[in-house]
């Protein structure tokens, strides 16, 4: 099926095309064409797959040449990384790239004779990832064209390398498609490393000291995961003479092969770094220095999901094992702690970053438990999170371009100043936590599954974490809707058309998802579970479904209805209460010197209560310790 190859190769080639185009206008058009093509191709793939009766597509059994390209690609990557490491005097990081690459090369050339396997394998999960990567990635590129124009305008201090930036985005999409469609672990490893390097390059885009520093942190953490991945693959290859991902899981779940424990643990460990779980979460926060489209695309909607993707695949194999326990703990803990730290942030992007880490944590935990219900929850969480985070990141970026800051405090009364952007933001946030929308139903089933699995820690993490999660989201929403500090000055909405297109698509998607949850669950996620576990549980009982539909109807209809009643109401509008010293409107009061003073209201951040910095260090130490202990237990048990 050539579409699959097209999906990998086209973005790759297009990346170079974009890179080569010097003219901004032409490049923009080229980018539109590129993203349109990608979305269309994903659509075609999806239709083909559906036509095929949704049975897994397995392709490319004999790939002598391709394998050589893959190996060559690995080596090129290694060289690039080594060069950059030397250029910026981070010599030791290059070791993390050189060692696994050489090991893999040795394994491929000198290693055991491997069974013939399909190299591309598209099942429900891969298809889902393709859809997410294709649609969201395509839209984000559309957005990026407009955004980077504004970015270049607002930040003349940075060299304008838009061609490089857009090119990298395409390059990344190529790697991402390759990653989710590959069955061969060797291929997976290459694409894995490629995404790491893309992320690294994008973080360093502005070439400021901070950016460079952060980009190398991201690099070494991801590469460290890569090392674990490579070791896991090689170990598995030597033991079983196959490098097919599905074989690994099948051998583990059906044959109960003891040698699978170690590779699974190592690959899961690698996934932890990619999914930015504690103690590796710092790279994701640092990644926020990159221009917004890359944050939206790589650092929340898709690349970090690669970790989740791997873990979800491994889920059946992890169920009930020590690895599963470790992953669940790390995920649950990250969910809880990151949400607490998010409370202390006022920078919109940082809140989004911490919330990403936190939500990824929940997904990781879901995968770690490995029960059908939790995987169900994990998959839904992933879908919702991808769309709403992408929406939110883009929206914060657009807002920043309009009001010159992305501090949430400065978004006070945004609904009256920039109604369109604020509405999009509202939708995105509501989708993230508000009952009965999307994420919440997933939490519901995650909680139930955790109880079923008697995982008390996870129960507590979810219960407390969801309280803190709603705290920071709610206060953000509150900021948007509260009356402005200024009197009625509406700002000019300078959001570009292409940005709006992307935002609108996302918002519509978000709403559709919220409404269609039951449908998606029935039609897509349940078959996915059957494919993965061979059985499925009716996760959403009918009663809950009905209730949910009623609640959704209410949550939509009641405000609308009462809004219209309220408009007609005979009401006398009074000044707000300011201890009797208003100055005639709601924005100022008479201060102690008899002068008018502007009222200013801020949210709570609990900085002095939760000490985000200490908390972060504490969690890093704790999770490192847990990882060390559990990994050595796993390794000790396996050897």
């Amino acid at each position: 099926m050539p579409v699959t190859v097209f999906l990998i190769l086209f973005p790759l080639i297009w990346a170079f095309v974009i890179f080569a185009i010097r003219d901004n206008k032409v490049r923009g058009i080229a980018a539109y064409i590129g993203s349109g093509t990608i979305i269309a191709a994903v659509g075609v793939l999806f239709v083909q797959w559906l036509r095929n009766g949704r049975v897994p597509i397995k392709l490319f059994y004999n790939t002598e040449t391709a394998d050589h390209f893959i190996l060559a690609g690995e080596i090129v990557l290694m060289l690039v990384v080594t060069y950059l490491c030397f250029k910026y005097h981070k010599y030791w990081i290059s070791v993390l790239s050189i060692v696994p690459t050489l090991m893999l090369a040795y394994f491929e050339l000198m290693g055991p004779e491997l069974h013939t396997i399909p190299h591309i394998y598209i099942d429900h999960l891969s298809m889902l990832m393709c859809l997410i990567v294709g649609i969201i990635g395509g839209m984000i590129i559309v957005y990026a064209v407009g955004y980077m124009e504004g970015y270049a305008h607002h930040h003349p201090e940075f060299e304008d390398r838009r061609n490089y930036f857009l090119g990298l985005l395409f390059f990344f999409l190529s790697a991402m498609f390759g990653f989710v469609m590959s069955e061969s672990l060797l291929w997976i490893d290459l694409f894995w490393e490629t995404t790491s390097v893309c992320s690294f390059l994008l973080i360093g885009y502005t070439r400021t000291d901070e950016a460079v520093h952060n980009s190398f942190r991201a690099l070494w953490m991801n590469l460290a995961g890569g090392v674990a991945l490579a070791v896991g693959i090689i170990y598995f290859g030597y033991q079983s003479h196959t490098v097919a991902f599905h074989d690994l899981i099948d051998l583990s779940t059906q044959m109960h092969m003891a040698y699978c424990v170690l590779p699974i643990a190592l690959i899961a460990f690698a996934a932890l770094t990619k999914a930015a779980q504690y103690p590796f979460s710092t790279w994701l926060i640092g990644a926020m220095v990159a221009p917004t489209p890359s944050s939206a695309l790589l650092h929340s909607a898709t690349m970090v999901k690669a970790g989740i993707y791997v873990l979800l695949r491994l889920a059946p194999a992890m169920a009930g094992t020590l690895t599963g326990t470790m992953i669940t703990f790390i995920g649950g803990f990250t969910f809880f702690v990151a949400s607490i730290i998010a409370i202390g942030q006022s920078d919109g992007k940082r809140v989004l970053a911490f919330s990403t880490i936190s939500n990824l944590g929940l997904m990781v935990a879901c995968a770690g438990v490995g029960a059908p219900e939790t995987v169900w929850a994990g998959v839904l969480l992933m879908i919702f999170h991808a769309v709403s985070k992408s929406l939110l990141f883009q929206d914060v970026g657009a807002t920043e371009n309009a009001i010159g800051t992305r501090d949430i405090e400065d978004m006070h009364g945004l609904l009256y100043r920039l109604p369109r952007l604020a509405t999009f933001m509202f939708i995105g946030i509501a989708g993230m936590f508000l009952a009965p929308f999307g994420m919440l139903i997933s939490k519901w089933s995650a909680l139930r599954a955790a109880v079923d699995e008697s995982n008390i820690l996870l129960v507590l993490f979810i219960v407390f974490g969801s309280a803190t999660t709603s705290f920071y989201w709610t206060k953000w929403m509150g900021k948007l809707i509260s009356r402005s500090h200024e009197t009625g000055d509406r700002l000019k909405d300078i959001t570009r058309r292409n940005e709006v297109v992307s935002l609108t698509v996302h918002a519509v998607l978000m709403i559709l998802l919220c409404i269609l949850v039951p449908f998606i669950s029935k039609v897509y996620v349940d078959p996915l579970l059957i494919e993965m576990f061979g059985k499925y549980e009716d996760v959403l009982p009918m009663g809950v479904l009905y209730t949910m539909i009623v609640v959704i109807a209410f949550v939509f209809l009641v405000p609308i209805f009462s809004y219209f009643i309220g408009r007609k109401m005979r009401a006398n509008v009074k000044l707000t209460y300011m201890s009797g010293i208003n100055t005639g409107d709601n924005t100022m009061f008479v201060d102690s010197f008899g002068e008018p003073k502007r009222l200013w209201l801020s949210n709570y951040y609990f900085r002095s209560f939760i000490h985000p910095h200490q908390l972060r260090i504490f969690s890093q130490i704790l999770t490192t310790a847990v990882l060390l202990v559990m990994m050595s237990m796993i390794i000790g048990g396996a050897l």
């Binding site: 008390i456 129960v459 309280a467 509150g478 809707i481 949550v555 009401a571």
Partner: protein, 291 residues
């Protein structure tokens, strides 16, 4: 089928009757408080008089949006209560309840007035305090009965309180917070003289305040109703027992209300999480072990 009708009647009874019951309880609380303070106190129906008065006043508002948010708040509150009394999924009910809280937060923060906004933030903190306890309650319930459906209690032979004493404790603690009983009346107090003036209701006058009161009555009945879940079982005597227990708890709450200073939000957060973690957590552990 019979049962469905039975539960539908439960919901209807709640929707119609809760305001009156809530109003009476409110009045009783004020009267009882007054007697504890050595005075005669208002008539039992005082909250009703207040309610009627508020509806009869000139409709004032500081922000038109507040009315529609408050209406949504009220409707959602009624809905979560009705969901509960019709024996629906408990966890879902509580999630809706937390959305209800969010709407109250919106109503308080939308006018951008100093005290109302600060109170809104505190309201949100309160939510963080009680939400874990409430969610854990449904978890405990699920563990004990194997379902989230509240109606399952009627098929139990023993009252759930036997299995879930810790959950009850932390739920009661959460209830103190939710009912704005001193020492946890940090966002709004039923008594005057709050450091935040009237807290979240600062910018609510006349009809808006009436809506808020109405929602509070619904909430009160709902919350006391949840206590009954711990007591009820398949025997009819348990209904009496549940009412009795509710009365005792009502009295204790009034007593607590009158014997404590308002704590700061930090203490409230620490205390409530500690209580929830300890009581519910230990109970949860035990339940999971014996399962």
């Amino acid at each position: 089928m019979n049962h469905t009708i039975f539960y539908a009647i439960g919901a209807v009874l709640y929707i119609v009757g809760a305001p009156f019951l809530g109003c009476l309880m409110d009045g009783a609380e004020r009267k009882l408080s007054a007697r504890m303070q050595g005075r005669i106190g208002p008539p039992l129906l005082q909250p009703w008089y207040d309610f009627v008065k508020l509806l009869n006043k000139q409709v004032v508002t500081v922000d038109r949006a507040q009315f529609f948010i408050l209406t949504s708040y009220l409707v959602l509150m009624v809905m979560s209560g009705a969901m509960f009394f019709s024996g629906n999924d408990l966890l879902m009910t509580f999630f809706v309840l937390s959305t209800t809280g969010t709407f109250l937060y919106f109503a308080a923060i939308v006018p951008s007035s100093p005290y109302s906004s600060m109170a809104a933030s505190r309201e949100l903190i309160q939510e963080v305090c009680y939400e874990p306890a409430v969610l854990l309650l449904s978890v405990g319930f699920y563990l004990a009965t194997g379902t989230f459906n509240a109606r399952a209690v009627f098929s139990q032979n023993t009252s759930l309180v036997v299995f879930l004493p810790g959950f009850l404790a932390s739920y009661l603690f959460a209830m103190i917070i939710k009912l704005r009983i001193s020492p946890f009346d940090v966002s709004t107090s039923h008594h005057a003289h709050q450091e935040l003036v009237q807290g979240v209701t600062t910018e609510m006058g006349a009809r808006n305040l009436a809506l808020f009161k109405l929602a509070e009555w619904y909430e009160m009945v709902f919350l006391y109703g949840v206590v009954a879940v711990f007591i009820l079982n398949s025997s009819l005597v348990s209904v009496l027992a549940a009412i009795l227990v509710d009365l005792v708890i009502f009295f204790c709450f009034v007593l607590i209300d009158n014997t404590n200073a308002r704590v700061k939000w930090e203490n409230m957060l620490g205390l409530s999480w500690a209580v929830t973690g300890l009581c519910s957590g230990v109970n949860l552990l035990i339940l999971m072990m014996i399962r």
